[in-house]
Symmetry: C2
Subunit: 236 residues, 2 copies
Amino acid sequence: MSELRIIAIPGMAEIRRGDEIAVHIADAALANGTPLLDGDCIVVTQKIVSKAEGRLVRLDETDVAAKHALVRSESVRIIRQRGDLIISETTHGFICANAGIDLSNVDDGYAALLPIDSDRSAHYIRNALRARYNVECAIIVSDTFGRPWRQGLTDVAIGVSGIGAIVDLRDTPDAVGRTLHVTEVAIADEIASAAELVMGKASGIPAAIVRGLDQSWFRESSARELVRPATDDLFR
Amino acid sequence: MSELRIIAIPGMAEIRRGDEIAVHIADAALANGTPLLDGDCIVVTQKIVSKAEGRLVRLDETDVAAKHALVRSESVRIIRQRGDLIISETTHGFICANAGIDLSNVDDGYAALLPIDSDRSAHYIRNALRARYNVECAIIVSDTFGRPWRQGLTDVAIGVSGIGAIVDLRDTPDAVGRTLHVTEVAIADEIASAAELVMGKASGIPAAIVRGLDQSWFRESSARELVRPATDDLFR
């Protein structure tokens, strides 16, 4: 593998509750002259998945008490709180700001909650692409998270289907024949980050094709692989 | 911008102290049929930068005391320690395992330390490409870090030249005309992650071309932009 293509999928209509994301993606990709191919990995932002799944709730964003109540209802544990910001563990095990609840690119007066089961969301889109278009793609549902120590947000995977969340290169001989100690690479997060580079927050492109990935990475998987058990974690 | 190409640069010779990385990269890219172009961003792994800069030290990796002493000498602060693992803040402000000291893809009995000033390393390569090949590229020096909460390693930027480490999309109207609150995207980290997908830990490809990035992101910058000030950080 020597080249990867990251292809934005512009031109998708606004996604509404009950919409088939697979259809929107496949049709827009075709209209753009880049039809989906077997072995592609499609990155889909959480926002449109949440919209299609009806995960929008009314929220007056100036009502801090209501916002905090909503964050708590989507969390199993508060990790840190400072001022308006809550870092919590979601029901999925993700640790992020405000339980992943998002106000941007949503109609005024509404907030988008994370999908209830984002692996299942990814799986659903993958199955729909196979059933309707006879194309075998992996799906990553992405979201934009902050992280400790480093400024700036990056996109990560919150749901995966058909591709490993992590590739384990431990104990593979490296280029000088020495044994690598720990190289579990979070490829699903890296793919989500790569896709973000062509989607852009302000441009509202909600999906991208990642073409040319190592096909040995394609397998059944779960974003749960990316969740570090609390007992292994030095920072909570 | 609708498509990004991530092009591996295989075929580079083993880098030794004093080697001109710019020459190795440009020559290998040309030999591969993908010569460097103005507006490319070249991602270069820390390992070869450290080698070119002579940042290899003798280390018997079975000697835990010597390893810890070396980690401490490369750190300004120990953040956490558990067993053999030290999470520390390096002299650059990065928080990572073992001060970024690396044993893989280095000759037996040696360890590679981080470059002393990885922005300067990036700047040096950029200037050499301009001077020798008349090509204007941005440079990112990448390294592989773990992170709290999430399993698996991802590549991040530890040095940048000619491209913003962070793009600030705060207060840009989003796709539905609403004001975005905080969307500072760590594009240099995302670009490093994207490049990692074609380099692969075990295949020993130490550089990749990222072609098609938004040219408005190209500016003078520093990986220091990615370092969150301790006072803003809830997790140390």
